[in-house]
């Protein structure tokens, strides 16, 4: 890119970075705005209007009218959207219609289960994936590689909720090592951690399979580069080349996938939390759907989507810091 602000040599990269950050920030704001609009629109799509949908068919007309007024349904939608977003920006996600408590507080409560679960799963996925990916890349083209990739192929094909049921069958029902479900609360830290082990494994394994495959193919590609040959030629062992030179350069695509996986983990947790009866955000969304509590659904989905968009933004920014070529 050539414009009058471009200064040669060192200054370039700093300006590039600033321009990149501004560009990404604009995209972030736009994404969040569109996401909130989509969520708002989908809730508007419910049959009838939100008030009669939430109260069901047996409701008294005056009850419906009261809720309609509370929700401000007599106002045009742009005003209602503005009111909703205004609340969201000040941390007010409205009041749950079934629990009569602030939705923001409910979400914070449930996050105490969902966030540790997603993080545990992410760490597990990395811990499982790296040895497999490194091993397969080191043995590329040989039996060990084929076997490892065969295993990951199966891992990718596993529905995580089914895998979760198998884990319960083996480790809770048969071996009775771990609880089959439920959550004792962080007041009992050890029991709480134990309750999250099986769900985290169920979430992590299919993601680990994807990660291992990406790591392998990225490593194999890196190992074909000239500077790897140079490193080998100057006498480094295959293992040294792999861990010191190849791994570092192979990490960028791996980081991309890892960032994307956070979104999979949050979304996947929605289903897994239902398998294990965990009182997390996902289970709350489902309960709210069955109770037709649209205010809770809207708020919780917005928080989830915003979290994913923010993580993607941070990951993008992270690369640009690592790799100046990406600032273009």
């Amino acid at each position: 890119m050539h414009d009058r602000f471009t200064v040669p040599a060192d200054g370039t990269s700093l300006l590039d970075m600033r321009r990149y950050v501004i560009h990404r920030l604009t995209a972030l704001g736009l994404s969040l705005a569109v996401a909130s609009l989509v969520i708002f629109a989908v809730v508007e799509l419910v049959p009838g209007d939100p008030a009669s949908y939430m109260l069901g068919t047996g409701a008294q007309p005056d009850t419906v009218a009261a809720l309609r007024e509370q929700l401000g349904l007599d106002r045009p939608w742009p005003m209602r959207y503005a009111g909703w977003i205004g609340g969201v920006l000040t941390g007010d996600l409205g009041y749950s219609f079934t629990y009569k408590t602030p939705v923001a507080g409910m979400i914070l409560d449930r996050m105490q289960v969902s966030l540790p679960l997603a993080l545990m799963a992410l760490v597990l996925a990395v811990v499982i994936a790296f040895p497999i990916g490194l091993y397969a890349a080191a043995r590329r083209g040989r039996v060990g590689d084929t076997l490892a990739m065969g295993v990951t192929q199966i891992g990718i094909s596993l529905p995580n909720f089914w895998f979760a049921m198998l884990l319960v069958l083996v480790f809770a029902v048969n071996l009775q090592l771990l609880p089959a479900g439920g959550f004792p609360g962080w007041g009992h830290p050890l029991a709480a951690l134990r309750a999250l082990i099986l769900p985290a494994v169920a979430l992590a394994l299919p993601q680990a399979a994807i990660l291992a495959r990406v790591l392998r193919s990225s490593l194999v590609e890196t190992l074909g580069q000239d500077y790897i040959r140079t490193a080998r030629a100057k006498g480094l062992s295959a293992a040294q080349v792999l861990t010191r030179h190849a791994l570092r350069n192979a990490l960028i695509p791996v980081l991309t996938i890892l960032g994307m996986q956070f979104s999979f983990l949050l979304a996947g947790a929605i289903i897994i939390e239902n398998v294990f009866y965990l009182p997390g955000l996902g289970r709350m969304i489902f309960q709210a759907i069955t109770q037709r509590d649209l205010i809770v659904v809207q708020g919780a989905v917005l928080v989830l989507v915003a979290a994913v968009i923010l993580v993607t933004f941070l990951v993008d920014l992270g690369y640009a810091l690592i790799d100046p070529r990406l600032r273009k």
Partner: protein, 271 residues
């Protein structure tokens, strides 16, 4: 590697055959409830056992294959139907505002956690197989748009495209007559991958009660119904799960095999 093509074809073919066969014959009647025969393990009479209502599991699996395949197939159709034209337009107008608008729109949809939005859509429109198709299909659109554009861009730089332009062909005709046939391989491979993802997504949505509704048999719902009994009768959970894994694994292997067979240079970027 040819073996992945063959193995994948056989595994994925199993589901297709089961679904096709179910239109003319199933070993038992899936609407026939017989509580006396409930939760039986696999036997000569019921090869895959019976479920909590005494229904023949093999018949349920065969009928469920129909739902899975239909939902995933139509969802891929939606993705291709909208995504491919968008990608072709973006490539034909590369660098222009239309290209920019299409690609930014894509990025936006990509940023959404698809399952969360699918859940929101099915929750708002009501749970049904059709709404599951729409929810899964929408997220296939940007995938195909991106693959189409990525595949079409290098083709637009080739000499014979210039020749076609000189001969007076418009961007639309060039896209259809020259670009599209050249990226068909790419689309077939991506279609196979999205097909397998669609089957997983359908199973997940049905499992949480937002997909196909009773009495339509569905693998995901069979698993949901097995949830409370699999401790006493493990086969009710193992059988539908295996059906999903075998089909998805088959499609993934098929996708890999097709990619290698159709174009050895092509690499699957993100699984």
């Amino acid at each position: 590697m040819r073996w992945s093509l063959i193995l994948g074809g056989v595994l994925a073919g199993l589901a297709l055959v089961a679904a096709a066969l179910s239109f003319v014959w199933t070993p038992g009647d899936v609407l026939q409830i017989s509580v006396a025969e409930k939760l039986q393990p696999p036997s000569d009479q019921h090869w895959l056992g019976t479920d909590q209502l005494g229904r023949d599991m093999l018949s349920m699996i065969m009928m469920g294959a129909r739902t899975s395949i239909a939902v995933a197939l139509v969802a891929v159709g939606i993705g291709m139907g909208f995504g491919v034209p968008l990608g072709l337009i973006a490539a034909a107008r590369r660098g222009g505002w239309l290209d920019e608008a299409i690609m930014r729109g894509n990025d936006l949809i990509f940023a959404f956690p698809s399952l969360v939005i699918a859940i929101l859509i099915t929750a708002a429109l009501g749970p049904s197989a059709v709404n599951a198709i729409i929810a899964i299909g929408i997220f296939n659109i940007p995938v195909f748009a991106r693959v189409t554009r990525g595949g079409a861009l290098p083709i637009w730089t080739l000499d014979y495209i210039r020749a076609a332009q000189v001969a007076g062909k418009g961007a639309g005709r060039i896209s259809l007559q020259h670009v599209l046939p050249n990226i068909a391989n790419l689309l077939i491979v991506q279609g196979t991958i999205q097909f397998s993802l669609g089957i997983l997504a359908e199973a997940g949505l049905s499992y949480v009660g937002l997909g196909a509704q009773p009495p339509t048999p569905s693998w995901g719902r069979m698993l949901a119904e097995a949830q409370t009994m699999f401790a006493i009768a493990p086969h009710v959970a193992i059988v539908p799960g295996l059906a999903i894994v075998i089909t998805v694994l088959g499609l993934n292997l098929l996708g890999d095999g097709l990619r290698d067979a159709l174009d050895p240079r092509l690499r699957r970027s993100v699984p």
